[in-house]
Amino acid sequence: MPRPTLLAWLATLLVLTGGCTRGEESSGFRVALLSPGPISDAGWNAAAYEGLLAIAAELDAGTSQVETRTPPEFEEAFRDYARRGFALVIGHGFEFQDAAAAVAPDFPTTVFLTTSGNTVRPNVAPIVFRLEEATFVLGDLAARMAPDGKICAVGGMEIPSVRSTFLAFEAGARYGRPDYPVTISYIGSWDDIGSARTAALALIDNGCRFVLHNADAAGPGVFQAAAQRDVYAFGSNRAQHEVNPRAVLASAVIDIPRAFVDVATQVKQGTFRSRVIERTMADGSISVVYNPLLTHVIPDEIRAAVDATEQAVRTRVITVPTAEF
């Protein structure tokens, strides 16, 4: 007979807090972020949160952030923010598109931005980061440094954005030698460092000399494996050489904060128009960042060739293949 206790507990909570109204909300320019995971991952979600902080600082905006895992939560959060008059609500991943498209018609004055995706509505727009450009360059670098070897990649889950960066990594490796072998493993998780390490060890023990990861918070496991087998790894999303200075040779980096601030500025000024917003190496949003402690490892002539590749990618002389999504 749990009734009295549970009800008493709920009633107590209500009495304790019932008289309180919700805090008065400012009516200025406000921006919200829906992150699919913890913002402390020092990766994908952390970069988005930094973007939100940059918007707050540079545009004098009120901000709010919520961690949402399932589509029902996406829709509920989108609706709640829009109802409360937020001007811009960012869903940080392709998976937010459905919910954004479902909610958007009811709230025409709110802009719904998704990070990656292809859904465009009058007030729904995706921002697509061409990280593939950087992983293409890393593939070229790895293949040049290990001309007779193999290279590999470890992914969190096989979602389109991850598959696409690996596709470009493979294309980069085959830029110099069309049959260059590239192997890919997935661990089925974004935080299982132990699995990431084991997957990387298995790849290295099967002859791989360079490991790219796109597994978010599980990435350090890949670095640890590389360090213990004396091979090099590549970071993704952020410059990750500080996580493992011994193993991380370079990283494929997205400048998410800058892109977020640009969009928010347009929304604030009323100049935003809905479209697929593409951010590339050419506008500085994507870059390859080398570990300053390991630059001596890369022979000068290889570095020069890779820099040339990077320039060709930046100027669209080379078209980097991507998975269509």
Partner: protein, 348 residues
């Protein structure tokens, strides 16, 4: 009753509540605003109530699933996996049967979800009865297998036509459950009906009596001529069916499609729901509402009061610990009953 334990228990609650407040102050937020958001987000207005109802529905089904199994002394930790295969089957059948006249696709989809859940639960029962594989380990393994099965399905045979994202296509409207008010779908009514039905089965039918008898004392039940294996299989089938219904209803009433990260851990939360409810169907209704309200309020705490998700987890945990301490305050009858209701051990 001895006074000292009661003082200790009340002290535990006071400490727990104080910890909540301190945690919120440490988070840099006004605890009154934050707790106000928690309650407001759960019960404050019609949107909040709808949100609470939506979050309660799967917990109610899975809570009932766990409660009846535990009543019969069967440790079904597998509501999560049974929910997932229920969702998987409902999606597959819902899209296949979409062309049938109006109520049929939804009924077929829901029915297939129920059957799939029952089959997944039945598989664990089969392993237990034929090969003596503990249902604890069987259901835990089947949970992980179901997660990977859903992942495989949405990357493979059930991937959307456009083949872009790891998710199924949206189900045709004919397969979806009707909406009652706001976002609240007909499945919430079914959940309440299920609670009533389970109450009747447990306390007004022979089957329910056998389940309870086997759960309370398997040896005595065997002496009375009740076959523990039959009880085990029938309760696991029923339990799986309820959890499968939870998954099917999430697809047909809320998401409209299947995707890789479908599981939100309802099947594990359900264990706490069922035990807090003392394995009573009526209690499960209230405990599911409590957890549903906590989940709905937790989102509002982040959005309105700026309390980050990790702080919300602390407040949720403190709430559960407090409720647990309150539960412990009341004198209980007979430790042997609690033993049957509480443990992770096997019936010999």
């Amino acid at each position: 009753m001895n006074l000292a334990p009661n003082v200790l228990r009340l002290l535990a609650i006071a400490v727990a509540f104080g910890v909540s407040i301190l945690v919120l102050i440490a988070a840099g937020s006004d605890p009154i605003v934050a707790l106000g958001a928690l309650v407001g987000g759960a019960l404050g207005d019609r949107y909040a109530l709808a949100d609470t109802a939506l979050k309660t529905c799967p917990l109610l089904f899975t809570g009932l699933a766990v409660a009846i199994a535990f009543r019969a002394g069967v440790w079904n930790i597998g509501a999560e996996g049974q929910l997932l295969v229920g969702a998987l089957a409902a999606t597959a059948i819902g899209s296949a049967a979409g062309a049938l006249p109006a109520p049929l696709p939804a009924i077929c989809a829901l029915g297939s979800g129920v059957l799939a859940g029952a089959a997944w639960g039945g598989l664990a029962a089969l392993l237990r009865v034929t090969r003596n594989v503990s249902e604890i380990i069987g259901t835990i393994m089947l949970n992980f297998i179901a997660i990977r099965l859903v992942g495989w399905a949405v990357h493979g045979p059930m991937m959307e036509q456009a083949a872009r994202y790891p998710q199924s296509d949206l189900l045709p409207a004919s397969a979806l459950l009707p909406t009652l008010v706001d976002r609240v779908h007909a499945g919430t009514l079914l959940a309440l009906l299920a609670a009533l039905a389970i109450w009747i089965v447990l306390f007004r039918t022979t089957v329910g009596f056998r389940w309870r008898a086997v759960g309370a004392n398997p040896r005595a039940a065997a002496v009375q001529g009740f076959d523990p294996n039959r009880a085990l299989v029938s309760v696991m089938l029923t339990s799986g069916a309820l959890a499968g219904a939870a998954g099917a209803i999430e697809v047909l009433g809320v998401t409209g499609r299947l995707y890789g990260q479908f599981s939100a851990g309802h099947g594990y939360t359900a264990i706490a729901v069922a035990l807090l409810a003392r394995l009573h169907p009526g209690g499960v209704v209230l405990a599911a509402i409590l957890f549903g309200a906590l989940a709905a309020g937790a989102g509002a705490m982040q959005r309105v009061a700026g309390v980050s998700a990790v702080f919300v987890s602390v407040v949720q945990a403190v709430t559960v610990f407090s409720v647990l301490a309150l539960e412990a305050v009341r004198p209980r009858r007979g430790a042997h009953h609690r033993g049957g209701a509480d443990g992770g051990g096997e019936s010999p």
